[in-house]
Symmetry: C2
Subunit: 349 residues, 2 copies
């Protein structure tokens, strides 16, 4: 055992799961009395102190937030969203007299090593994580160490969404694509195609549901008719163009297309020379420059949420149940930015 006992140590001593210890600390009314008393005894016994560093962030004069700078992707169109989040976060942190320290990491294990170095050296008081994924080992590690952190991105596992020790802010992509699809349906489009990523990515699957829900509810198309309206492609402009051609072959006439990303949307636009309305996701500079509609993530609001949670402005309130309205978990709604379509492509035809 290390110098300071962890949640896991308490769990082992009390013979319960880590989640149960976490519940005793954060939402004791969720735990049966006998179990709760066993955990509380183990906590006293071991001298476990929850969230020492979280308290530090709220009281120190000039605290420092560590954030990993994600690697540049080959197709940097959609990747720029994290750079824009970083801008929003840094601007707001400056106003709160919080510092933002950058680091890089080659992967999750390397990022965890950086967490250790930066918190041991007292360089960083809390971490902000981006790009959460299924079975993310980073949050587990931070929770074990009682290290203060907030993720931009929900935990992608049904049970974990309500974990009271995992503070997160995320954008409701499903809502965004539902709104985009509904907008096209309201404008008279009926056969609206969907260009998405291969199944398995939390964000991609979630956004697809938004298209599907709107189509089921308002398109009047059958499940079989809907099935030919969607194709999957890796992210990228050329993949999007290729997928768009496949979609047109399989689906025949289309009225419009919604996409999981602006990269795919740009590909779809190029492949159709602007014949169809196309809506992308992320409202990147490319969407703004070329002039197509896109779902915008409200990154200022995400940054505000992240800093609120980090600095305890949510009041550290313990709710009786961990629901979507739990202040430790904040889902923000994106908004559809409607544009006329790419006049430059149209003029060039």
């Amino acid at each position: 055992m290390g110098a300071q006992p962890t949640v896991l140590d308490v769990a082992l001593a009390a013979g319960v799961s880590r989640q149960t210890v976490s519940n005793v600390l954060n939402a004791p009314e969720m735990v049966r009395q006998g179990t709760r008393e066993r955990v509380e005894a183990a906590i006293l016994d071991l001298g476990y102190r929850p969230h020492a560093s979280a308290r530090r962030l709220r009281t120190q004069k000039s605290s420092t937030i560590g954030i990993r700078l994600d690697p540049i992707t080959t197709d940097g169109i959609s990747g720029s969203i994290l750079d824009r989040f970083l801008h929003a976060l840094t601007e707001q942190a400056d106003r709160k007299n919080l510092r933002v320290l950058l680091f890089t990491a080659a992967g999750p294990e390397d990022e965890i090593a950086q967490f250790g170095r930066l918190s041991d050296g007292a360089d960083v008081d809390a971490f902000v994580l981006t790009s959460t994924f299924h079975g993310d080992p980073r949050t587990e590690w931070l929770i074990e160490r009682g290290q203060s952190f907030v993720t931009f991105g929900r935990p992608w596992g049904i049970d974990d969404m309500a974990d009271p020790e995992h503070l997160w802010v995320d954008v409701d992509g499903r809502h965004g694509l539902r709104e985009a699809t509904t907008h096209l349906l309201a404008g008279g489009a009926r056969r609206i195609g969907f260009l998405g990523w291969p199944t398995g990515s939390g964000t991609g699957d979630d956004r697809r549901l938004g298209w599907l829900e709107a189509m089921r509810s308002d398109s009047g198309l059958s499940a079989d008719e809907l099935a030919v309206l969607e194709v999957a492609a890796e992210d990228g402009v050329n993949f999007g163009a290729e997928a768009m051609r496949r979609l047109e072959l399989a689906a025949g006439t289309l009225d419009a297309v919604v996409c999981t990303s602006d990269s795919l949307a740009l590909g779809a636009l190029m492949a159709t020379a602007g014949r169809l309305p196309v809506i992308g996701y992320d409202n990147t500079p490319v969407a703004a420059s070329i002039g197509f509609s896109s779902v915008e993530q409200p990154l200022d609001e995400v940054a505000t949420g992240v800093l609120d949670l980090l600095t305890g402005a949510h009041g550290g309130r313990v709710t009786t149940e961990t629901s979507a309205s739990d202040p430790r978990h904040r889902m923000v709604a994106p908004r559809l930015v409607v544009r006329d379509g790419p006049s430059v492509i149209a003029a060039a035809r």
Copy 2:
């Protein structure tokens, strides 16, 4: 006078310019003996200590570099270059156990206020500046304070290029556009147009010279014939498309176009539906995705240069003359990334 005397205090006491004091400190053999002795006396008199913080960066175990995160531009296509520089810088700083601290500022004066706050609070040991411009007050302020810094971007004033106190790394954009133009000429193009920014921006004017030099040398066209081959536009895809139409009206048949930015290049491509070879600048994700040639800034090399200068790995060598080979001023050559042209646009015609 503040607690610590500045270069300006020494200059006033010795009755010389700040530049002369700087020369005495960094390249004394450039200064006449009488002047040198007067300055040296003033330095002793006032107890001036040059570059206290620069020395600190080289000896401290874990030093911190402050860098301003530039505001997101509306058309973020070319702006992303600074985010990519930040990535390269952070990755390399990590390996040297240097920390990168971010801040934001609404303008040069606000950035100077941030310099003061961050260096007074000992949060930051040295600064990296980007987007230098004519009459930049930031570098002047840092030099006066003896604060360690390096700029990505040369000082845009003829006299300042060789200032031994202003360490800088820059990319030779003129060389880049000369190479791009020469590449097109070698491929048989002769009437090569130029889409650039309005005169007055250091980088824009410099890149234009590269096109002009190559055309003068190898196109066989007269000065009058060259004059109709260039147009200026504000940066942006739509501005680029509009400028491209103006250029075709004024110049008639063109063989190819080179541009000061990828935003302008994308506009030119859209306006001509891929009829002409177009070369952009910055090799942004947009150029890679759509598939047009572009001049790439070697940002890894720039980051290496910046860190070398900050940590004194250039050896602090004093040269007898401040020339282009001065290790304190590093100009790196960009490289042309040649691509076949936008297959997606061509397929869509």
